[in-house]
Amino acid sequence: MSTTKVPTKVPLWRDDRFWKITFQILAIITVLVIADFFLFNLRLNMAKRGSLFGFDFLGSQASFDIGEYLIPFQSQDAYGRAFLVGVLNSLKVMIIGVILTTILGVSVGIARFSNNWLVQKTVSTYVDLFRNTPILLQLLFWYFAVFSNLPKIENQIAVLGSFYISNRGLALPWLGDSPTAWSSLLGLIALAIAAFFVWQQRIKIMVEQGASGQNLLLVLLGMGVVALILFIFGLQWTFPVFTAGNKLNGGLSLSAEYCSLLLGLVFYTGAFVSEIVRAGIQSVAKGQWEAAKALGLNSGILMRLVIFPQALRVMIPPLTSEYLNLCKNSSLAIAIAYPDVYAVSSTILNQTGRAIEIVLMIMATYLLINLIIALAMNFLNSSVQIKER
């Protein structure tokens, strides 16, 4: 009723709303003034240097070589394509890195709960050692002290006659590049998805109807046999063979730069992930362990069905930031000359001098990648949360 009279009674400087609005206007003005200051100087400095803003330089010829690429690249190609090659190289490290880090981190985190004293000590030493030294130093160590000291390609180390390690990197068997191989791969993926649903169906039948689920187990077994056949024969594995000139035929070869970067990132981030896994497992109430043991579950099933799903809820948010860290740290590739997006961009910058455009492109790329990961992890996070009424 009297709300209209309040502003007249309360002096202006006592009015909360006045301050709120003034403060926001002040904030906007401050930001605008700073932005204007920067932009004004930028225009002045750019005019002094005689450079213009624009992305048309991306079309001109790159005339530098990139050591490794996923899409064909030659020095005659455009800067834009070079940038794309860098992005793909970055993604190659990030995706494989995230997968390997998860495997390493989870195994190490679980190994911390081993009742074997030696395993515990080894694992905690690993974590302390890798968490407390800078990632850049570790990358330099992997590249210059480990890979550069490996034997030359003439007398490389062969493992099981199909893996080769030398100071040029790693060569391993890989699937063939033919329609049969690709369709087999697709078949394997389809089988895995089908098997997942059959498994769920089986559990459902077993729980709801108390049936044995034998029939579905047989179905699963059959699928397993088909998968095995596809895996061995369908994928048309090719093995690395070295010809006279030390040229590699067949298989997959990974450069020393890529291996160093991947190993460095995986071992560094894995140490952090293992701590997250440990904290997650520790956060599960002790009664859960005791109840599961009282039901007679052995330690493997206990971890898989009781502890880990509950730990996952605590683990996913910090895990997301570790994955983001891994992706951001992959930009250190420049220190060991792996052509990732940052390294390629700085080469382009050196050639063209387009500082602002390139900084913007790098920022956009990393922010986009981060956004995708964060969204995917948030989706995962919401799917493992407790389903409450």
Partner: protein
């Protein structure tokens, strides 16, 4: 009498038997036995190979020959005394602060002396090792002196808490003054020989960059943390944008952008040093992370605190300054410590943008034809320095967490 008899009796302490311990912890079942044997063999092989490499193949002469370079880089040798004084000031103040922070208010907490047994043993071993290192006698004396200063500072800090009521403020002022004094000692002027920033290298630059960046990012971090918690939509939007953008970018990218962009977006006649540009980059990056850490502290403060302050008639700035911030910052100290730790490691990225801190100077030394190919030796040594510093800090942060009772009160 009766109450005593109903007290639960502690279970009998198991008799620790060597054989039983080994059986329980190493050979408990076939799988564990296999693991033990496997890891034991691998460990044994690696240890043998490593010791062989250390004693016969590695050429360690690169370390003592370049020790001053690793520590202070090209800082003029005649001015080394200045770096010693800086170290003395920082270690004394650090000891005082540590003594103050680790002393819990309860009387039964007083029997500790600020360090647990393992840390004291570690310090003892360090002192012992220093005596036998191939250093010149003066440096040895100075290092031992520094250790004494640290321990003495810790003792004084504990004494001070009981005798001087406003010791916290005094130490805070001490840090502020020491910051200016150290800056003066580093750069010279006012009667001292000036030393350009391009001569500040090695560990000196690493520590300097980490400390100055976290100091400068503190006010920014507080502003953006408060901004993110604010109910004003515009302020909140700007804060969230700042925090999320700079947390989403790789540090190398930010440092690189700072190097190339700052000269472009600032007036052309401002000549900005490489080191200053790097400080700007590190500060922008750290303040985004710091803001998130402080936000965690702010969220830990019950809403009732702010409401009670408002009810008492304090306006928002005063209630933040007097009631909310002191509690939030106290809860944030361990997180701050961890942030400083990761910043300390992250300063190594400055090597990528051409600054000569600890990692950068090791690259320079390796580029020297005399020491070609000594990658493993140099990187192991530098790694040891980082490892020792970071382990000390993470231990300290763990103990602070216990002593400050974060999450307990």
């Amino acid at each position: 009498m009766t109450t005593q008899s109903t007290l639960p009796v502690a279970p009998p302490t198991p008799v620790i038997n060597m054989g039983a311990w080994i059986k329980k912890n190493l050979f408990d079942g076939w799988f564990n036995s296999l693991l033990t044997v496997g890891i034991g063999l691998a460990f044994f092989n690696i240890a043998i190979g490593f010791i062989q490499w250390i004693t016969t193949q590695a050429k360690w002469d690169v370390i003592p020959a370049n020790l001053p370079l690793f520590m202070v880089g090209r800082f003029p040798a005649s001015q080394y005394w200045r770096t010693w004084i800086i170290a003395a000031i920082v270690i004394t103040l650090g000891g005082l602060t540590w003594g103050m922070l680790t002393l819990s208010k309860e009387p039964e907490g007083n029997h500790q002396i600020g360090f647990d047994r393992n840390t004291l043993i570690g310090i003892g071993i360090l002192a012992f090792v220093v005596v036998f290192l191939p250093l010149d006698p003066n440096s040895k004396m100075f290092i031992l002196g520094l250790i004494c200063l640290g321990l003495g500072g810790c003792f004084l800090g504990r004494l001070g808490v009981r005798k001087v009521s406003n010791i916290g403020t005094l130490i805070g002022v001490g840090w502020l003054v020491s910051f200016l004094v150290n800056l003066w000692l580093l750069s010279g002027g006012f009667g001292l020989q000036t030393v350009g920033t391009d001569l500040w290298n090695g560990l000196l630059l690493t520590v300097f960059m980490a400390s100055i960046s976290i100091t400068l990012s503190f006010p920014l971090g507080i502003i953006f943390a408060l901004g993110r918690q604010s109910s004003l939509p515009v302020v909140k939007f700007f804060s969230v944008a700042y925090i999320e953008i700079f947390r989403g970018l790789p540090l190398v990218g930010i440092l690189f952008a700072a190097q190339v962009m700052l000269p472009l977006i600032l007036p052309g006649d401002w000549r900005i040093d490489r080191v200053v540009r790097a400080i700007a980059g590190l500060t922008i990056f750290t303040s985004a992370y710091l803001a998130e850490a402080i936000r965690g502290g702010l969220q830990a403060i019950p809403k009732g605190q702010g409401e009670a302050a408002n009810a008492l008639g304090l306006n928002t700035p005063l209630s933040l300054y007097l009631i909310v911030m002191p509690q939030a910052l106290r809860a944030v100290i361990p997180a701050l410590m961890n942030l400083f730790l990761s910043l300390f490691k992250d300063t190594s990225l400055l090597a990528v943008v051409g600054l000569v801190e600890l990692t950068g100077i090791s690259r320079n030394i390796l580029a020297n034809p005399v020491f070609l190919g000594r990658f493993a030796e140099v990187y192991l040594f530098v790694g040891m320095i980082y490892l020792v510093c970071c382990s000390l800090m993470s231990q300290a942060s763990k103990q602070l967490e216990v002593n400050l009772g974060v999450g307990k009160r």
